[in-house]
Assembly symmetry: D3
Homo-oligomer: 232 residues x 6
C-alpha cells in the first residue's frame, strides 16, 4: 500500500519530521512517500497562507495520483484544500485535523485542541463545527508560539505546549488532547508521558486511518461533490 503524506508548507525540516511520524505509525507493508509544498509559504498561519499553499498541494496530489497512490494524508492542521484533493484523488484523502478530532471522539467524551498561534484558533473552531464535533470539543487553545518555533530546538516551544495541555486538563476538564499542528508530531510520546492523558497526533492517526479505509477497499465517492473536476 502506498500512502502520500504531504506537508503543504515549504519547510523541508517539517516534512522530514512529519514523514518520520507517519512511517513510525504505519504498518510494515505500507510505503510512505513524503512531499513538500514547494513554493508555498514556509508555515501555514491563517487563511492567506492556507490559500497560497493549496495549488502546490494539489500538484503533489496529482503527481501521486498519476503514480497510482492508494491514499493521501494532508499534514497541516488547517485541513487545507481537502475537498479539492478529494476531487482529483481516487483513494481516500484525510486532513490531520479531521482524523485527529474524529479519533479523539472515539477515545474520550471530550477533548481540547492545543495549537500554535491565537489566529489559528477560530480557523480550527470552524473546522470542528463543520465536522460536527463542537459539542465534544471543550476548547481550542493556543500555546502562543509561531509554527516555525517548533523547528528550533533551542526555543522552549515544547514546554509551552506541555504547559498549555496541563492548563487544559485543569481548566477544561478535557479527557484527551489533540495536537493542533503537524509540527508537533514528534512531541506526542513525550507529551503523553508528561501529562498522563491521551495525546493525539493527527499525522499518525491520519496515516493509519487512511490505511484503514484503503484496507477496506474504500475510495473517495465519485458521485456529485467529489467527482473529478469538470472539463471546460
Amino acid at each position: 500500500m502506498n500512502i502520500l503524506v504531504v506537508n503543504p508548507n515549504s519547510t523541508e525540516s517539517m516534512t522530514r519530521k512529519i514523514v518520520d511520524s507517519a512511517r513510525q505509525a504505519a504498518s510494515a507493508d505500507v510505503t510512505i512517500t513524503g512531499a513538500t509544498g514547494t513554493g508555498a509559504p514556509a508555515s501555514i498561519e491563517g487563511h492567506y497562507d492556507e490559500s497560497m499553499a493549496v495549488p502546490a498541494l494539489l500538484a503533489c496530489v496529482q503527481r501521486a495520483e498519476d503514480a497510482g497512490v492508494d491514499g493521501i494524508v494532508v499534514a497541516c492542521f488547517d485541513d487545507p484544500g481537502i475537498g479539492a484533493c478529494r476531487e482529483i484523488a481516487t483513494g481516500p484523502v484525510l486532513g490531520i485535523c479531521e482524523a485527529a478530532v474524529k479519533a479523539a471522539s472515539m477515545l474520550a467524551t471530550s477533548f481540547t485542541v492545543v495549537t500554535t498561534l491565537p489566529r489559528s484558533v477560530p480557523v480550527i473552531e470552524h473546522l470542528i463545527h463543520g465536522y460536527g464535533l463542537s459539542h465534544q470539543c471543550r476548547k481550542v487553545r493556543s500555546a502562543a508560539i509561531p509554527v516555525l518555533a517548533l523547528e528550533e530546538p533551542e526555543s522552549n516551544a515544547r514546554e509551552k505546549v506541555r504547559d498549555e495541555i496541563l492548563r487544559a486538563i485543569e481548566e477544561d476538564h478535557c479527557e484527551a488532547v489533540v495536537l493542533g499542528c503537524a509540527g508537533m508530531a514528534d512531541l506526542t510520546a513525550w507529551l503523553s508521558e508528561e501529562t498522563g492523558i491521551p495525546v493525539i497526533d493527527g499525522v499518525s492517526v491520519a496515516t493509519r486511518m487512511i490505511e484503514a479505509l484503503v484496507g477496506c477497499g474504500l475510495k473517495t465517492s465519485k458521485i456529485n461533490a467529489y467527482s473529478r473536476p469538470n472539463q471546460k
Copy 2:
C-alpha cells in the same frame, strides 16, 4: 467610495455581466471596479476549481488594496478565499453567498437556493451551515446547467432556472429564492417577474452591503483571525 468586484473565474463575459449588475445596484457616488481571475479556471464548479482560482483572486485584492479600495465583493457563489481576502484587506470583504443568504434571512422566514450543477449543492449547503442559516434554508437545488451555459444566449439556461424556482415554490414552500451563481445576476428582474417571489442576486446585494459597512466606517477586524498574514 471605491468597491472592487472580482469575478474569480477567467471568463471575461461573466465579469462584464457581474460588473453591470454591481453598477446598477450601487449608489451614484460609488465607483465599481471589476477584475477577472486571470489564469483561473473558466468557471468554478466544485472544490478544485475554487482552490485553483484563489491565488489570482488574492492578487486582484492585493492590487486593489494597494490602490486604496474601500471594500471588496467576491462574485462567486462558493465564496472562495474569503478568509484570505479578509486578511489582506483593510475594508470589509463579502462573498455573494454570504451576502445573499443573510439578506434572504432578513426578508423571509425561509429561502431556497437555486444553483447550476448538482456538484455545487453540497458546497453551498456546507457554506450555509457555517453561516448558521441551515434552519432557514429549505433546500439547495440545482437547475442542472453548467455555469458557462449562462453565457450562451441560445441555451435555455434561464428557462431551466425559472422552472426550478417554480418547483421550489411548489415543493419547498420557500418564501424567497437565492440565485446560486454570479452568472445569473442579469436574470434577477426577469425571474422575479416570472415567479412572483423575492429573487435575490448575491452580486447586487453584496455590493450594497459592502457600501453599508463602509458607510458606517466599519472595517475588517484586525485582531486575531483576520489580522494581516504573518511575515515568516
Copy 3:
C-alpha cells in the same frame, strides 16, 4: 429613499440620539424620519416592556407605510415585534440586533455583545440563537447599567460600557464588539477609539442595510409568514 427609524420606547431624548446616528450613517439622498413609541414604557428592559411597546411600534410602522416609506429600522436591541412589522410593511424591516450581529459576522470570526442590564442577556442570547449565530458569539455581557442611565450625562455609564468591552477583549478573545442597546449609538466612535476593536452600533448598521436592501429593489416577502394580516 425614505427610511423610518422607530424608537419603540417613549423616551424622546433617546429618539433624538438614535435619529442622529441614523442620519449620520445614511447616504446623502436618504430621508430619515424618526418616531417614538408614544405610550410605551420609558425603556425596554425585558419581555414585559417589550410586549407593551409593540402596539405603539406597529402604529408608527402603519403610519409610515401609509405614507409610502421604503424601509424600516426598529431601534431597540431586543428586536421587538419584527415579524409583526414585516407583515404590515411593504419594504424591508430590520431590528438593530439582527443587523448588528449579521454585520459583525461579516467583519470578524467572533464577537461579544455588551448590553445594559443582566436581565437582557438571555433575551439577546435567544435572539442570536434564532439568527443562527451562537457559534460566532463569544458572550453576551451586561455592563450593569439601566437603559436610562445612558441618557444621564453625569452617570458613568459610558465608562462602564468601555470597561466591559475591555474585559471582553481580554477574557472572550472576541474580534469585534456589538453594542447591545440603541441608547449606546452615540458612543460608538469613542468606544472604537478607546478599545481599538471594531465596535458595531446596530442603529447605523441597520439603517445602511435597509438602504442596501431597498437599493437592490428587495422587499419583504409577501408569501406565507410575512403576508399581510388576515382580515377576520
Copy 4:
C-alpha cells in the same frame, strides 16, 4: 389549586371550548378560571395578530396574579407573550405549544404538528427551534383552514385535520401528532380514535403540566430574565 387558562384572542366560543378541555383534563381539586383577550384579534394568525393580542393577555394575567392564581396556561399555539407573562407571574406559566411538544417528546421519538394556516408553519417551526426539539419534529403541517373555521360546525375543518394527520403518518413516519391550534382541543379524542396514533392537545397537557409544577412547589424563577418588570 387555581389555574388561569387564557384564550388570547377575543372569540368567546373558543374560550368556552378551551376551558372545557382544561376542566376535563384537570384534577378534581383544581379550579380552572377562563379568560378571553378582550379587544384582541378574533383569531391569532401570524405575528401581527399575536403582537396585538399580548397586552390584553397580560392584563388577564395581572388580574389573576392579583387574585392569587397558582399557575397560568396561555392557550394559543403561537405561545404569545410567554416571557412577559412569566415576568409578572409568581407561579409557573406555560404556552400550549411548549407543553405539547415537550409532552410529545416524552411519548415518542418523533412527532408532527398539524396546524391551521400555512402562514403559521414558520412561526411554529421557529418556536420548536427555540425549544430545542427540531430534531424530533418531523414536520409542521397546515390543514389549510382558517382558525375560525374550527368554530363552525358546518365547515369540514375536522375532516381536513384528520386527513392531514393521516398524511403525516404515511409520509413523515411520525410517532405522535401535536394539534397546532387551541381551537382543535375538542377534536382530540375523535382524532386519536380515527388515526390510531397519540394525538396531543396542548390545552389539556399544559393544564396538567402546570398542575405538576405547582404541585411540586415550583415557581417561575425571579432571578434575571423573568424577574418582575423594572420600575422606571
Copy 5:
C-alpha cells in the same frame, strides 16, 4: 392512578427516600409503588453501572406493567434504559433527568445541573444534548461526592451540594438549579431555602409529570420506535 417509581440501583435506603419524595409530590388519589433494582450495582456512577442496572429495572417495569400500572418513573439521573422501558410499558415512562431539565426550561431561561461525581458530568451533558436543551444548560457541575455519601448523615454531602449551587449562581448566572442525582431528592426544600433559587428535584417533577400525561389519557406511542419488543 398507580405510578411505579423504580430506583434502578440496589440500595434500599435510597429507594425509601425516593418513594417518600414521590409520595410527597403526588396527588392524593395517586398510589406510588416503589421498587429497587435487586442485583443491580449499589449506585449508578457511570456507563457500566448503568448498563448492569437495566435488566433488573426492566424486570420491575414488566411486573408493574403486568399488574396494570398507569405510568412509570425511573429514578436515576442518568435516565437508564428509558427507551427499553417505553417499549414494554403501555403508559408513559419518564427518567428524572428528562423530567427535571424540561421542567427547568419552563421556569427559567437557563439552568445548571449539580451532580455527584465528575465522571457523571459527560453522561448528563450527552443526555441534555439529546433532549435538545444544551442551549439552556449553563453548566453541568459535580459536587465531587460519591452517590452513597448522600446516604450517610455524618458526611457533609449536603453542604457540598449547597456550596456548588452557590458557585453556580455566582459563576454561571443560571436562573434555576437541577439536582443531578435521585439521592438528593430529600434536600430540595432545604437547598431552595439556603440558595434562594428554584431548585428542581427530578423525582417529584417526574412523578407529577407522569400524573399529568396519564391524566390527559396519553400513553407511550406504539408506532415504530417504542412498539413492543419483536418476538423472534
Copy 6:
C-alpha cells in the same frame, strides 16, 4: 495485535459472518477473536433487545480484557453499551455505527443509512445526532426486513437492501451508503457492484479503525467518563 469482535446477539451464524468480514478486512498480523452474546436476544431490534444484550456483551469484553486484548469492535449497528465497554477496556472500543458513519464522512459529503426494520430508524438517527453527523446524513432508511431474514438464503433480503440503496441514490442524492446492520456485512462487495456507489460496512471499517488506533498507541482515556467502574 489482538482484536475482539463481539456480536452482541446470540445468533451464532451471524457471529461467523461478522468474524469472516472482520478477518477479511484485518491486516495479516492481526488476530481476530469472535464472541457471541450468549443468552442475549437472537437479534437486536430496538431498545429492549439492546438493553438485554449488554450484560453478556460486557462479560465478553471483560474476558477479552483479562486476556490482554488490544482493541474491541462491538458488531451491532445500534452501538449498544459502548460507554460501558470503554470503562472496562484498556484499549480502544468502537461500535460499527460510529465507525461507519465517521468513515462515510471522510469519503463523501453526504450519506444515507439503510437498515433493517423501521423501528431501528429513530435509534440510528439518535446515534448520528450524538455523533454530530446529522448534517451529513441525508436519511436513515429501512429495507423493511427483520434482522434474521439476512440469515436465510432463501429470503430476498439482499435484493430488498439493494433496491433501497437504489432508491436512496435516486431520492436522497446521497454520495455514499452505510449498511445499517452487522448482518449485512457479507453483502458489501455485491452491493457496491450493483449500485456503483461506495457502500460502507461497519464491521470491516470498525476493525480497521481499531487497528489504526491501536497502531498509534492510543487507548481509551481513563480520565473521567471512561475511567474504570467505581468500587462500591
